[in-house]
Symmetry: C3
Subunit: 163 residues, 3 copies
Amino acid sequence: MNAGGPSLRELRLEIEEFNSEYTAVLDALRIEDWPRFFTEDAIYRITGRENFDARLPVGLVYCEGMSMLRDRALAIAKTTMFAPRYLLHQVSNTRVLGKASSDEIRAIANYALFETLVDEKTTLQQVGRYHDHFVRVAGELRLKERLCVYDSLMIDTALVFPV
Amino acid sequence: MNAGGPSLRELRLEIEEFNSEYTAVLDALRIEDWPRFFTEDAIYRITGRENFDARLPVGLVYCEGMSMLRDRALAIAKTTMFAPRYLLHQVSNTRVLGKASSDEIRAIANYALFETLVDEKTTLQQVGRYHDHFVRVAGELRLKERLCVYDSLMIDTALVFPV
Amino acid sequence: MNAGGPSLRELRLEIEEFNSEYTAVLDALRIEDWPRFFTEDAIYRITGRENFDARLPVGLVYCEGMSMLRDRALAIAKTTMFAPRYLLHQVSNTRVLGKASSDEIRAIANYALFETLVDEKTTLQQVGRYHDHFVRVAGELRLKERLCVYDSLMIDTALVFPV
């Protein structure tokens, strides 16, 4: 820890608040606001646990840099392939990994994503973990890297949407 | 924020503790203790996301004021229509909305409600969000308004029970 | 509270961090690291809500003392009956029960355990509550007793694995 910096607990609480804002944007389908949680050079990936454990780089979604994040957001906003649905994230078990400083933080959190399609029952779309690398930009946390590793098999069209 | 008042983070943590107590009462089916989380003039509503998004006031449950809350609790306690079951809430992603003061707080939290009927598998009864207006009574948080907005279609008899 | 000791809130946050580490070990199937969360004389039990409410001591798993915890961990590590799977815990609604001191804490938390078997959909394996008795050993929290009370009927082989 940096001398005089926030404690690991304070960083954990700050990340929880970050993730609550982040998932509220996704749950509201405000996809155009999603890139603002990232740094200019950020990497965003979604991959399965099997790939992750085997250290395979291949994943279902790969974005590198702000323009790719914005492109993806725009593509989703304009697509007609994304059926209306309600989303709800539950993020829990946030852990700040050791040797964090106030400006450079690695953390993991568990998420469950519940999805409700029109006139259907709510289902568990996926559970997984955020593997995050946060940095601080103008005092605020930003994701330099978010790797979403899901346990679940995902085969439906919702895949196009970030987690 | 009020000068010298608690921070948004402290309010968030206080609301989390409130919700843990609130849901513990419901999960224990101690329905008679449920009204004590509200103010005398409180409003309690349960409504679907579709209604909420369309700003329709109609919902599945509507209580205004302590006597209606107590009537509902009494009705449930005495009914034979409520089959035995186990309930378990998970509340997460609590967000204090901006411009909160220590005595007047608006907040949103995500909930999942798991239900287990006798000799059946546990199911996800509903997921949704608490849209809350808290005030402080004798130093303690009370709900002046709780609006439960569920994503899920709900058609079973459990509806009579508060969330 | 002990004069000068941590507040109930700080204890709650510390227990949340304990549980995030505890469940991360289980989710990684690092069963050999599981006993280190307990005291030498610890009791670990898993039982159904029905048994618990009836105050029946019988449960599905019973370990008393470090050697039984280690025996169980070893047995699981060596068994071929435990099919590969991914586990993910979500722990929420942590409540420190009144009259806690810094060194002797009783607490309850809600958990949901999601399980993904190879090439299958993620399912809710169980939901339940940790009924915990924590003590402090060399400054760190340890479980003197953890009683896992599940709402769900559980009949599959995963039972052998701790929660």
